[in-house]
Symmetry: C2
Subunit: 324 residues, 2 copies
């Protein structure tokens, strides 16, 4: 099976490539193409890997070679960048999806497309618990663009251009890497930074709740979406996934249980601007359809902290030391 990962240079794309290349991967890959704005690093593998650079909105033909069976479309401009630069968000997040659909139309058989949508495509605030029939009313351009991508891929699937599964990923925690300007940065930072021995700021209260998933579980879901039977989905190709609803207090409690005393590095520094943005986020989804479709439920919060320590802590420490 030929597989392409678009947006393979990001942290999820890199983890997905590594998992496909590792022994015991759930997909028998015959060739892997990695595509991103810069040629992504390729893992060691028993099959050929090609690494390509380009513009997703002007997708080169060899990013999805003939007879590709699975396309993971992870390429996106993230929320803060899409809000700051409307044209850039439109180009990457909307024209990019059109380019993927057009590439699928040139294939002899419609490929499976696994598209990463987001809980940012919903709004409703801290009291909402959204079922699978909830309407997407995004309060940010990134969420609007993700909701539109879902619609485009739903229609392309109905027309037989591709066979899409749209995964609305929860906020991913604990993300490796550095704190950034995204409003959600603190969700990962309050666990990651203290584990690195570094101080970090908490801009919201401890009762603030968020719908999260570990990178490890997200990779499980991407792989399941690549091989699942899509017939039971019918017209509706989108799935809210079974993450967990955790408060900041839950995350800090898990951190303290795993590394006693680390929580002292978290400084309470309320930020009204961040509070206003994250206040529209929905902290809980029902995700019944995804559970019925075989997507694994999420591990408890403490395992999410342990997963970061097992999978990413040392690499993150090395990256920080190398950059210092």
């Amino acid at each position: 099976m030929k597989v392409s990962i678009l947006g393979a240079g990001g942290f999820l794309g890199q983890k997905l490539a590594a998992r496909l290349a590792a022994p015991g991967a759930p997909i028998a890959v015959s060739a892997l193409t990695l595509f991103d704005i810069a040629a992504p690093p390729a893992p060691e593998a028993a099959f050929p890997i090609r690494s390509l650079a380009g513009d997703i909105a002007d997708l080169p033909a060899d990013a999805i070679p003939a007879d590709t069976g699975i396309v993971f479309h992870l390429a996106a401009v993230v929320s803060a960048a899409a809000e700051a630069d409307y044209e850039l968000g439109r180009r990457v997040n909307l024209r990019g999806v059109d380019a993927v659909i057009d590439a699928c139309r040139r294939q002899a058989a419609p490929p499976r497309v696994v598209f990463t949508s987001s809980v940012a495509s919903f709004s409703g605030g801290q009291t909402a618990v959204l079922g699978d029939d909830a309407r997407q009313l995004p309060a940010n351009s990134y969420g609007v663009q993700k909701a539109i991508g879902e619609l485009l891929l739903m229609d392309a699937s109905r027309r037989g251009f591709c066979d899409a599964v749209n995964l609305r990923l929860p906020t991913i925690a604990v993300r490796p890497g550095r704190p950034n300007r995204a409003a959600s940065s603190f969700v990962s930072a309050i666990v990651r930074e203290p584990l690195l021995g570094l101080a970090t700021d908490l801009p919201v209260g401890e009762d603030f709740a968020v719908w999260i998933a570990s990178p490890r579980r997200c990779i499980d879901w991407l792989l399941h979406a690549a091989v699942m039977d899509t017939a039971p989905l019918g017209l509706d190709r989108s799935l809210s996934l079974p993450g967990i609803s955790a408060t900041v207090g839950d995350l800090l409690g898990a951190l303290e249980a795993v590394r006693p005393g680390a929580g002292a590095l978290v400084r309470r520094l309320p930020d009204a601007a961040i509070g206003a943005i994250v206040g529209s986020w929905v902290p809980a989804f029902d995700a019944a359809r995804a559970r019925e479709a075989g997507f694994a439920p999420h591990e408890p919060v403490i395992d999410l902290v342990r997963a970061f320590i097992e999978d990413d802590l040392e690499a993150t420490r090395r990256d920080r030391a190398a950059a210092a």
Copy 2:
């Protein structure tokens, strides 16, 4: 107030232009621009009217002149055409909305944009009654493109590029003109053709129900959307409108009451292909938000037949005679 009508050559655009040009119009127009793929006919008016031809996806700057206050965006590729030609639907129905948004961004003040979306952006079938929070899950490319247009204009309004109201128009009946290949053609034809003394085919049963509105009431709604206070709408700029749910039997009963014996010209000729398409249509909406926002409720079915006779029957008869 400068006003532009995009898609002014269609039957709604022509009726809207005539209403704005007639005495007692609810908007004080200082100049009117009519834009379509061919230069639209202009009515007599007390203010200057400019008629322009062009491609909506490559919108010329003078289609929305400087200091335009209201843009009616009615330009669209309709459902049968968008289904037959994916690129054409994408170009007109999606890139067209982007072009309108970009033109608004070049204005000194954000114009009101009144966008015609459609009940075709929903699916659910004959048993559904949809509230204002219902999810759009369109079963056709036209409906997908309309749902996307709503999202783009919602985001553009949130960002301050424009001040949009998205109107999900019911199936319009009684349409003037000729029977066409649209699956919905029969809804108007079973009234219009017998009133012209012509036979017509009925492809569904008499219990088939549809959410309809007269052209006259649609114009009322477009004008109300142009002047209403949008602040109470908040983030959500889309409104399902208070049409009426009528069965084919209701329409034939109203026809018979107005013109006894005319119903004999309607031939029952079940068509499984049309039945399959229209079977996904939703026959009833709650439309509470639109009623609260001051959109006039619909007249009874019999008045919809009378409105066609008063507004369009003679012109339709003349057009048919001229074409014969």
